[in-house]
Amino acid sequence: MNWTAAGEFFSMGGYAFYVWGSFLVTAACIVAEVLLLRARRRQALARVRAERIRHEAKA
């Protein structure tokens, strides 16, 4: 184990900004992509439904 206290872990030997700046931005990008993918799926399903309504209106 590298750390004796939580504060030591979070300060990353004085490199907290660089280390956490890397890991947190990576995590944020992945969370954002997952949310965007969910939104895109919802929109795509809505488009399929809209297409169906248009088709039924024509028929």
């Binding site: 030997g13 004085g14 660089y18 280390v19 890991f23 990008c29 399929v48 169906r52």
Partner: protein, 249 residues
Amino acid sequence: MDTGLIQWFRYASPQSFYRLAGRMAPWFAWLAALSAAAGLWIAFFVAPTDAQQGESYRIIFVHVPASWMSMFLYLVMAGWAGLGLAFNTRLSAMMAHAIAPTGAMFAFLSLWTGALWGRPTWGAYWVWDARLTSELVLFFLYLGYMALHAAIDDPRRGDRAAAVLALVGAINVPIIYFSVQWWNTLHQGASVSLTRSPSMAATMLAGMLVMAFAFWMYSIAAALARVRAIMLEREAHMEWTQALQESGA
């Protein structure tokens, strides 16, 4: 697409791949989550402090896997794009489009984490060095691929134009990879090589490989989820997507 041309092209049809992708994506997502948890544990609690760089070196556990994925995903994207050009299958171009945003994200993360690692180690967030510049070009190639496709109204024509860009841009990937050998650069050489024993502690290497596996599984899950959305978008008017609505799938 002509049906029955070659039997195994059947799997290249969106409606059969849509269901397959839907079944596979959660498995890859779980593998990604579990291996990311294991990789982060190794990165922060098992791997020792570096003698020269102190704790700042821990950026390696996200920087190297993100850089590998940015290059690997570009080659996979260009491969699908090339298949789409050669065989004119609908699925190939859709797969190429599904990979591009995730690849762009990893190229961005490679540059971002590289800048945050460069500042404490080299004293600069950015230098116009061969490795860094060619990775920046890779990021722009991803953006250019997506922008070009988005700019062409007819998706099938857009597929072909973007595929040509993807294939021409693929020359950049070996340039990035070998840049540290071909030019004098501030960037360190390859950390992992097939011909030499690794130049780092075994636990550091293990953490990096586990994180790379996590990013790889995540990329597959994200690409499968995105290709499903693309299929629905492009084929919203077709019978098979309309049938999905009835079955509630």
